[in-house]
């Protein structure tokens, strides 16, 4: 029983961190590739390195501080944040799956970034535009990775496992990205976002409850019930709102 409860929590934690980090890494990598191919790799890599240093500094400052927050409060606040964040991801993924919102197209983003950069003056050895774009891409996407790892890791008392999982996801996506180069669009990003959304809302619900002293039946095992419940709700919502073939709805931007 103990082994089952521990592994349920670990499986959901590893799944949530891995998928969330992989999705953010795909988005960051698309920008870095576009910058590197268009303006040169030196400044792109300098931007990436500077962003990684800034993110490491944030982790060094906020990571140890989070560990000292009382667990009940930490879980309530983190649960609330994950609930909001997860519902936002699910809402977008449901709208995209139903065809009411345009899917996140890495090819289009790559082409847009390249077009934007090509219109600027040619780069030199130290290309400020390339540096800033690579920095912003990696820092903003990386910030979401940091928040996911810190909040999920500290609340589950498994910061080490969450960090290792994130590192594995980032390295794997980097290797795959380097091999397939500009074919990041073949990654099933919306399905991954839907899965991450389900896992974030699952943890959000669970920890809001724990923070408010709700006793879940079966403790961590109840996470699996939430995963199944929210996955079912998403499937129903996609099926219900999907437009019939005769109608022709506009895609929303939100």
């Amino acid at each position: 029983m103990l082994a089952t409860t521990v592994s349920s929590g670990v499986v959901v934690l590893v799944g949530a961190v891995f998928l969330a980090c992989a999705v953010e890494m795909v988005e960051a990598l698309t920008i870095v590739f576009a910058v590197g191919h268009t303006r040169g790799w030196r400044s792109a890599f300098e931007g990436v390195a500077a962003a990684l240093v800034a993110l490491a500094a944030l982790v060094a400052v906020f990571g140890p501080a989070l560990i000292h927050v009382p667990l009940t409060w930490l879980r309530l606040v983190v649960g609330g944040v994950l609930l909001i964040f997860g519902m936002q991801w699910l809402r977008k993924a449901i709208l995209r799956s139903s065809g009411l919102k345009a899917k996140h197209d890495e090819d289009a983003i790559y082409q847009e970034t390249v077009a934007e950069l090509e219109n600027l003056t040619p780069g030199t050895n130290r290309d400020r535009v390339a540096f800033v774009m690579a920095f912003k891409g990696v820092f903003l996407e990386g910030l979401e990775v940091v928040i996911t790892v810190l909040t999920l890791g500290t609340s589950a008392h498994r910061l080490g496992l969450a960090s290792v999982t994130a590192a594995v996801a980032l390295v794997l996506v980097a290797i795959i990205g380097a091999v397939v180069a500009k074919q990041l669009s073949s990654v099933p990003e919306n399905a991954m976002k839907m899965s991450v959304g389900v896992l974030l809302v699952t943890y959000g619900t669970f920890w809001v409850g724990e923070g408010l002293k709700v006793k879940w039946p079966g403790n961590d095992t109840f996470l699996l019930a939430f995963v199944a419940l929210y996955a079912l709700v998403c499937w129903v919502l996609v099926t219900v709102i999907k437009p019939r073939e005769s109608s022709n709805p506009q895609k929303v931007d939100a």
Partner: protein, 79 residues
């Protein structure tokens, strides 16, 4: 740039990041999360009704998600 201007800009940027992160274009989900926390706090901590809290928490989250998706879906279909 003097020190106080830099600090103000950093604080403003920090606040804007969290506003976009938590509220953004879906303020209804932010409000819903506050309502869920308030309702479950009442049920669990004041009335000590654990079973009710176990049911109400996910149900409210599902209702909030459904209403937000319906709002966006209706907006898309109206256009």
């Amino acid at each position: 740039m003097n020190k106080s201007t830099l600090v103000t800009r950093l604080l403003k940027g920090f606040a804007m990041f969290w506003w976009d992160f938590l509220v953004g274009d879906t303020p209804e989900l932010f409000v819903a999360a506050l309502v869920i926390i308030g309702a479950v706090a009442l049920i669990s901590e004041r009335w000590h009704a654990n079973t009710t809290a176990v049911i109400v928490l996910p149900v409210l989250a599902i209702v909030a998600l459904t209403l937000s998706v319906k709002r966006a879906s209706d907006a898309a279909k109206r256009k």
